[in-house]
Amino acid sequence: MPHRLEKRVLLEHASEPALRTLDGYRRLAGGYATLERSYKEMEQDEVLKELEDSGLRGRGGAGFAMGKKASFLPRGDMPKYLCCNADESEPGAFKDRELMQRNPHQLIEGIAIAALAADAGHAFIFIRGEYDEQADILDQAVAEAYEAGYLGTNILGCHRDLELVVHRGAGAYICGEETALLDALEGKRGNPRLKPPFPAVQGLYGGPTLINNVETLSNVPHIVRRGAEWFRGFGTEQSPGTKVVSISGGVKRPGNYEVELGIPTRELVYELAGGPEDGHEIKAFFPGGSSSPVLTAEEGLDLPYSFEAMAEAGSMLGSGSIIVCDDRVSIPHLALRTARFYHHESCGKCVPCREGTNWTVKMLERMVRGEATPMDLDVVSSVQQNIIGHCLCVLGDSMAMPVGAMVRKFREEFEQVMEDPDLVLDPHAVVRGAPETLGAST
């Protein structure tokens, strides 16, 4: 049974293996009824209005209002596209994997309805190459949906067409950035494009393109079925709805938990995820994946888990992925590990990210080797400041914000490590990987 603090909408029936099949989705979740109704009875603007009224914010990281984004697409006869961003690559995030694995049809139905709102004739699911199993599941589900007439030409006899292609990425973090995703999908080197023009105006193959995250699109059938008011009944004014939160790191029960936005963070970490292992304390946590500035336990645990509260605290909800660091974690090593990830994944197109990530790694490596002075800490901080806001896309900021926050909030720990690197008994006691389980229910 789900925990009393969980509010399962997207993950309802998720523990039933049959949900993966078209029959199971229809039987258990009343699947595709909303698609049928929207295709047969609704106009583009009605769907769009429902989505706009719901206040659904993008679940991929930026938190931009989904309906509003869809409304930016120009009208006209030009080819339009919808891309589902399933390139879930942020360290700490593993909720899209679960959603695709357990309920692929919910996503497909969401895509089909969103395509109606965007007037898109072609849709793509860009899934990261490592999600091989999930891609196979999607392939199968898409084939079923085609066979059942929910995809393809003249869907349900409504004279509307939608082609849906599952595209496997080749394994670059940057391809989760929406414009790099478009380049990669077009067969080019996956580098972010300049914005503007935004994809809504000029995206895939130059056509207007709506790009949304898996979880965002999975919400769409529910909103259209039960209405914007129902959706706004969950969460807070500025963060309506439920959210699948990935919790990992130093907790007893890591996993995905679907909760109403605005739930106290402490309840998420302690009651759902079981809190720190016995004998340990929570030192800090990333509230929204490894690219969000870390919050100390004192700063963050008592905040409501919402877009606005996390932003106000100087961090962000991001993709909704909490990484918990207990007292065994060496923050300087964590900073280095974070920086190394973004250095490795920087596409190299723009200067501050390419050179800033590489320089930061070199400086942090010197620090944990004890070959730095406190003055280097100032340089590290200033380099992070010089990256933020100066890059072509947000990848540079994704390193600079958490690393900057770690140096700022745990300066003493850096100074100690520089003084005596051997103090850190286990530099690898950083965080553990993503679990295979679904929250507390299994």
Partner: protein, 828 residues
């Protein structure tokens, strides 16, 4: 991207700056005298990429700094380029750029002319905080035989890669790997060999890409830059010579949008290395051996005087007999051509002068082709709705136009149609192509005219091309001069122009791609058998081929060749061999020793385009100035002085003793050059069509002519299995002294190939690379087989001017049919 928007006013650093809505902020700032530093931005390379982040500025109302290279201007925009926030950003970008840059400025060729150096100095923090190890690459390594790459210096601005992908479209340069491990390279480390690749050394903002021909040859403080014009082909690109100790060390582009768009081909960029080869003619020479100038000129004057029967006490001939003297001008300035024709016409009373390698239309047709209304200028290509490439491959004949056409397609969505004998480099971007048999250009033109007038059939070869052209309002026709070697073809071209209404549409017209660099200028200066200066009709003389026949028949005995090498460049080498052997007296003005100078009684040296002072006329009518930049080696004298001295020895007082007097005489003699002064030409040139003298173009005369040729056979007809193979020839970009006498370019010297369709190759059992002997009427040339899919069955192609295997040897003035035998069997 073309900002045809309305005029707006924006505020930059508190100052109001006029701008055009939609143009990039960076451009508006530059026009308003606000300098914003940048590395990657270069509008010529296409859309901005925003990679270097150097041009960040603050725009009121937008919280984050924005890249000015990619921000379109809006009315009322308030921009700050000098706030603390902007300065911090600039400081940090420079600091980041130098994190991995080796700072080896003292040994870097770019030092002193390096944007990274300048911007670090002007906008950088002035101190370094980097103590960590920099990234390393093996360096320098060969990116190509001509360009070295130093990947440690590279700041990954994408310029070279964008050039390769979006300008020259060779797609060879790529960014490889990721993040700070990214480097510029080619697939599998293959050498980057492409006809325009030298441009990447011009656009590289650091010392990462340097030319092997210039590495360690000079520093910026001991060189001078001398603007001039490259006359190695009719493109006449504007160049700047880098001169040290009076020698050319480098050629770089001198951006002239009206001519070259700031690009150069490798022929123009590296061609200067043939200036000082041992084969250079560095002084006058008589058959017996070296001579001084007085002896040489005396010998020439005496020889010519005798042939013309001149009494040297009076000017002109005192005989009524047809003149036995003739002259052919090849590579020459307008003034040189003008002087040669004056010597011929006025001192030797001979009308036998031509400047064309083969045949060409009558003067009356040339005047119609020169009408400003039907003429296009180079920038018209940019804005054209449709472009017809007819009977020429710009890549080989006027390379820079190849880039221009690609740009029109890529940036402006122009539709390209190609009608040629031989497949062209532009075919891939064409909406429709038509292949015709060598010698049938006139036929396809009359067919195209019919299609355009609605008289054609849907199945006609030219119908798809006509469909594209008919839809377009602005049409530019790039046509090869050799099309007009066919009787009636130029007239048919004019009919096509009329059917398209080119004269009435601004930005539409014809643009010739001539066979020689200054073909238009020499024709207009009077080097034509039936027209004097200004295309004014004169008593008819012999054309190039008639001169050749006259030499063979003994009717012409004395020949002056000025910058012309018939044994390499003119069709029908055996006939020219016979003609030059038969000549009683041969004077060859030549830059290099060659087969023709070997036969000459007197050899006189010519200046290169780096040494010469003079004007040339671009195929679109633009008069441009070639300026002397380098010293003349040996005992070379200015060509103008030599010709003026010769005229005076022949009793003709030209009043010319220098370039200014020669130019004044030229502009006075050519009605439509009247009044054009050296300052009008300046550094960018001036089209005579755009001066008030344009109306002085002589009347075209009646439009009649031989008329359109009768279609003898269907163009698309299957030639049948036993049909003979018709030879077409083309001038290869790399054939000639520019590669053979040029150590750095030698590797590009072409070998003769027989290009053949796969059907014919199969029929004749030929394989790629196989050695064959191609013969026609007793002459033969050896070649290697190259099977090309886009060649029409029944035709084969070979290159002209290839040393030792020159396709000109097989020509006889018209389409020829060749026999092909396998070489190994022939030997057996």
């Amino acid at each position: 991207m073309s900002p045809g928007g309305r005029e707006v006013t924006i505020t930059i650093d508190g100052r109001e700056v006029p701008a055009v809505e939609g143009e990039m902020l960076h451009d508006a700032a530059r026009k308003g005298d606000v300098e914003i530093p940048y590395f990657c931005y270069e509008p010529k390379l296409g859309d901005p990429v925003g990679a270097c982040r150097m041009c960040l500025v603050e725009i009121e109302g937008i919280p984050k700094l924005q890249t000015s290279c990619s921000t379109p201007v809006r009315e009322g925009m308030v921009v700050h380029t000098r706030t603390e926030q902007v300065k911090e950003a600039q400081n940090s970008v420079v600091e980041f750029l130098l994190v991995n840059h080796p700072l080896d400025c003292p040994v870097c060729d770019k030092g002193g002319e390096c944007p990274l150096q300048d911007i670090s100095y002007g906008w950088g923090p002035g101190k370094s905080r980097v103590i960590d190890e920099k990234r390393h690459f093996e360096k320098p390594i060969e990116l190509s035989p001509l360009v070295a790459i130093d990947r440690e210096r590279c700041i990954l601005c994408y310029r070279c890669v964008r050039f390769s992908q979006e300008v020259s479209e060779d797609d060879q340069l790529q960014l490889i790997a990721r993040g700070d491990r990214t480097y510029v390279g080619t697939f599998d480390d293959r050498p980057y060999v492409a006809p325009f690749h030298g441009n990447i050394t011009d656009i590289c903002p650091v010392g990462a890409l340097t030319s092997y021909t210039y590495r360690f040859r000079a520093r910026p403080w001991d060189i001078e830059h001398a603007g001039s014009v490259c006359t190695l082909c009719p493109s006449q690109c504007n160049v700047s010579f880098t001169v040290r100790d009076e020698k050319v060390k480098r050629v770089v582009a001198r951006d002239n949008h009206d001519v070259d768009d700031g690009w150069l081909c490798d022929r123009g960029r590296y061609g200067f290395e043939m200036f000082d080869t041992p084969e250079r003619v560095t002084g006058p020479r008589l058959k017996g051996g070296e001579a001084d100038w007085e002896q040489a000129l005396e010998a020439v004057a005496t020889g010519l005087r005798a042939a013309a029967g001149i009494d040297h006490t009076q000017v002109g001939s005192n005989s009524d007999a047809p003149s036995r003297v003739a002259a052919i001008v090849g590579d020459a300035s307008n003034e040189e051509g003008f002087l040669v024709q004056r010597i011929l016409r006025d001192a030797l009373a001979s009308p036998n002068i031509d400047s064309r390698p083969s045949r060409g239309p009558r003067a009356a047709v040339l005047r119609r082709l020169a009408e400003p209304d039907v003429s296009a200028k180079v920038p018209d290509i940019d804005e054209a709705d449709a472009i017809l490439v007819l009977g020429t491959d710009p890549l080989h004949s006027s390379p820079i136009l190849d880039l221009r056409v690609r740009k029109a397609i890529r940036r402006n969505g122009a539709k390209l149609v190609v009608a040629t004998e031989r497949p062209t480099a532009l075919d891939g971007g064409a909406a429709a192509t038509a292949r015709y048999f060598p010698g049938e250009a006139g036929l396809v033109l009359s067919e195209l005219g019919k299609c355009l007038r609605g008289e054609g059939h849907e199945v006609d070869l030219m119908a798809p091309l006509a469909d594209v052209l008919r839809e377009a309002s602005r049409v530019v026709i790039l046509w090869g001069e050799r099309v007009a070697r066919e009787d009636g073809a130029a007239e048919a071209l004019l009919e096509v122009a009329a059917a398209l209404g080119l004269a009435a549409e601004d930005g539409s017209g014809l643009l010739e791609v001539p066979d020689t660099a200054n073909a238009r200028g020499l024709r207009e200066a009077g080097c034509l058998p039936d027209a004097g200066p200004g295309l004014v009709e004169t008593a008819a003389g012999r054309s190039t081929e008639e001169i050749r026949q006259g030499l063979i028949d003994g009717e012409v005995t004395h020949l002056v060749l000025f910058g012309a090498d018939p044994l390499r460049d003119f069709p029908d080498t055996p006939a020219w061999e016979e003609a030059l052997t038969a000549a009683d007296f041969l004077v060859s003005f030549s830059m290099h020793e060659n087969a023709t100078t070997a036969k000459a009684d007197v050899v006189l040296p010519l200046e290169t385009h780096a040494e010469k002072d003079g004007t040339v006329t671009h195929p679109d009518g633009r008069l441009q100035r070639v300026r002397p930049s380098a010293s003349r080696p040996g005992d070379i004298r200015p060509n103008i002085q030599v010709l003026a001295e010769l005229a005076s020895q022949l009793g003709l007082d030209t009043g010319i003793d220098s370039q200014p007097t020669a130019f004044a005489a030229l502009t006075a003699a050519v009605p439509f050059y009247n009044g054009i002064g050296e300052t009008d030409i300046g550094g960018r040139g001036i089209r005579w069509q755009e001066t008030s003298s344009a109306t002085n173009l002589p009347e075209a005369g009646p439009a009649s002519g031989p008329g359109s040729p009768d279609p003898p056979r269907s163009l698309s007809a299957d030639p049948g299995p036993d049909a003979p193979l018709t030879l077409g020839t083309y001038r290869d970009l790399w054939a000639g002294p520019v590669t053979e006498l040029n150590p750095p370019l030698k590797f590009l010297t072409p070998h003769q190939r027989l290009e053949i369709s796969s059907q014919d190759a199969q029929r004749l059992d030929l394989k790629n690379g196989e050695a064959v002997r191609v013969s026609q009427n007793g002459s033969s040339v050896d070649a290697a087989v190259l099977i090309k899919e886009r060649i029409s069955p029944g035709t084969v192609f070979m290159a002209e001017g290839v040393a030792g295997a020159n396709a000109n040897a097989l020509l006889n003035g018209g389409p020829v049919q060749v026999k092909i035998e396998k070489l190994n069997e022939a030997r057996a």
